[in-house]
Structures are given as structure tokens and as C-alpha cells.
Amino acid sequence: MTATAPRRTGAVTPGRGTTETPPRRAAIAARTLRTDRWWLQPLVTVVVLVLFIAYSTVRAFQNAHYFSEPYISPFYSPCITTDCEGDTFPELFTGPSWISPAIYILVIPLGFRLTCYYYRKAYYRSFWQSPPACAVAEPHRRYTGETRLPLLGQNLHRYFFYAGLVFNVILTYDAVLAFRDETGAWGHMGLGTLVLLANAALLWLYSVSCHSCRHIVGGRLNSFSRHPLRYRFWTVVSRLNAHHMKFAWVSLFGVAFADFYVLLLATDTISDLRFF
């Protein structure tokens, strides 16, 4: 049990947390004595994320092949300028034509994933090596974590979560629009419709299982018994939250795949499989 003795005041110095000079740790030179392949996981994370970043950057700047009636790539939705191919969303303004419409909107999903508690773990470990794996020394001399800018900004995650929800609604709307055929008549369904639907569903799972969501629906309460409905929400979100890492990856692949599918259609590489 933790002692609850009266609190001392003032900062403590390194070592045991008292004012003595720091006593010595065991002299072990090796960076780690782990014998397993601890470097594999960070390596895989780097490779997969770099591939995704490379692909999405190319696609975001390409400014072409992102629309194939009735499907729009999730990288370009909501498409808000008058330059847009197709009209899945109200055109809000006319931007310079050399700026891809994806650029205006990608900051939201990007910010959402960058500040996500799971992705933070993934990239702190793999890209920043802080730490590369448990009980493996990190290469940095100093460490301040998320105590100062810019990393203090990670605390804005919940705002990206709210904005992400708006995007989910729009991408779900895109999937619904995909039930129209090329002429705009309802009652069509192709493989692309399924791809967009699956993408939207995965994004919802990813968002709803978010740690901020868990906090907002009920986690911030101290008395669940006085809020039975919110307790129910919290229970459901907590259950999903346990799989947040899985949803983070699967939905990332989902977005890339949905975009790739539209690319294939838009370039006439394949034609959509029609169910009806």
C-alpha cells in the first residue's frame, strides 16, 4: 500500500529523490541485455508508416485521378474548391489551380492521427527511439517528454477527434452517394460502394475507440452510478478502446486502399465490379 505521509514541499534532486548525492547504479555497460528481436517492431512500424506517408503524399499532390463517378477518394473528400472533379460536396471557394484540393483538408486526419495516443506510442518508439523498445536505452541525452512545446500540443487531441467525426460523417455520406450509378440514378452498387462503406466503417471504429472519446463519453465522471446512460457508453467505448491499435492500423490501410481503388478506376486500369 502506498504511504500517505504528510507531503514534503519543494523539488527534490536526482538520486533517491532526496538531497543526497546520487548513489551509483549497477555498472552494466550494455545498452540492453535483451536477447529477443526487440528491434523488429520499431523497424516494421517505420517501414509501414514511411510507405503510407510516401504514397499519400504523392496522391495528395497529384491533383488527378481521385474521382470516378460515383466514387471519390477519401484523400480528396470533402472536396471544397471549384477545381474539384465531380461534385460530392459544396464548392466553397476557388483556390489556385496548382494547389491540390486534398491539401486544404488533409491537415485534419493528419492531425488526428499525429496526436492519437496510439500513434504517439508508435512513432515515439520507432522514429524517435524514445525508447525503441522496453528496457532498451534511448539515444537521447536529454528528455522532457510532452512537457513543453511543441509536444505539449498533443493535448489538443480531443479537438482533432471532434473534427475527425465531421470527416467521418462526410465520408459516410460519400459511401451513401456511391449507391447511385454514373448517371446519378439511385439503386446501384459496385465493389467501389463496398470499399467506401468499409472505409467509413473502419474510420468510425477508429474514432469511437479513441481515448479522448472514452474520456468524453464518461471517463471524466467519478460517479458512474449517477449517470447510468453515460456509464453504458463508457463501457462500450472501453471495450472498443482495447482494440484501438488494431483499428488504427486497419483503418489506415482502409483509407489507402479506398484511394488506390479509386485511382485504378479513374485511370481506367480496371473497371468496377457491379452487383446491381
Binding site: T2, G145, R148
Partner: protein
Amino acid sequence: MSYDATFRVWRGDAAGGDLQTFTVEVNEGEVVLDVIHRLQATQVGDLAVRWNCKAGKCGSCSAEINGRPRLMCMTRMSTFGEDETVTVTPMRTFPVVRDLVTDVSYNYEKAAQIPAFTPRPREADGSHRMQQVDVERSQEFRKCIECFLCQDTCHVIRDHEENKAVFAGPRFLIRLAELDMHPLDVVDRKHEAQDEFGLGYCNITKCCSEVCPEGIHLTDNGIIPLKERVVDRRYDPLTWLGSKIRRRRPD
């Protein structure tokens, strides 16, 4: 069935030491602590090792086995190949006393700094009432056996001795979370969690959760919810405004 295993054990004290190699008998069903005891009984009578329950409940026998922070009494020898060298070292994050024994007083210093549980006044009939669903979250953290393996693993202090002054470590961040979520407690520790106990130093890389022998979800159920609660207080203008306008009950 028994076999001879190769053990490398760190021996020494604050002045210095090294890994020494031994060949020692292992019997079926044994754990690392059994083998360390046999080593002590048959070859190195003065090997220092701290232990108590041999049941994973006292939290005394924490060490690092093949580089991984673990309880020696809960690490089965069957997890290693018979020809695999097993390396046992003291916890790296704390000053060594001798051999496998470290001085973990840093943890007690931090524990003593946390504002104690302060319940609201008793009800008219003299009792404290709360529902099971309300304390359930806090109770997960009560499973802690204070082995301090999470403290040992946390890179914030493992790799940066100087951070010990400003960071309480995962075990005490979940203690803060436990109290903050408690339905009876009335003290607000959110600002202190951030300013004095170094919550912001944690970068949620989850090594504490990975090593906890009690399976406590320190990061997901304790540290991240606490971070979110701190955001409510300090970094989210909307909740701050909401609490001013609606003057809502702090629940």
C-alpha cells in the same frame, strides 16, 4: 528431469561489479529464483538477493532477466531453452546495494509526496456510501504489489537519472489516477499531477503496462485518463468555460 544451465549473474556494489558466469543445476518446474537460491546454497554463499513470498505477491524479487524487468519468482525456467544462457541483473534504474539488491527508496519518497486520500464528510447516518461501479476503476490499481518493475522500465528515469526529481513514475501516476477517480475523494490533484509529479514526461509508450506482473493497464486505464483529466483542467478552453458557466458539480 534436470539439466545444467549457464547463468550470468551481476555481482558487485556501488563501487563496481561485473557479470559472472556459473553452471548450475535446474530441475523441472523451477523458476529463476529457485536457481538463484541454488547458486547461493552451493556456489556463492554471499550472493545478495531480495525475496519474500515466492508467489508473485510481495514484489520483492524484481530483477532483470535477459534484459527484461521481471519477478524472479514468476519467471519459469521452461521459458528458456536448455542451452540458453540466462542473464540476471539488478534493476538498472535504482542504485545498487549489492548484487541483485537495489535501493528502491526513490519510490517511497515519491509515494510520501502524494496528497493522501481525503474522503468527503460522512453521511447523516455516519457511513460512507459508494457503488461498486464507481470504485471499480480505482480498484484495478489496488492490485499493485509495488514491485517497481514499471518504475525500473520507464525510460523517463531509466535513461535520465536527472528526471527523478521531476517525475514520480508510472506507479505513482496510477496512484494519482486512482485517487482522482475515487468517488469519495475530494482533493483535486490534477494540477499537481502535471506540475509536481511530471505527468507530461510520460510519452505513453506503454513499457510500464508491458512489464507489470499484475497485468494492470497502467497506461490505458490510468495515465491516459489522467492526461485527459488534466486537459479538462488546463488545456481545453471549452470544458473550462463550461465549468464556469454551468457551475456544474465537480463529479
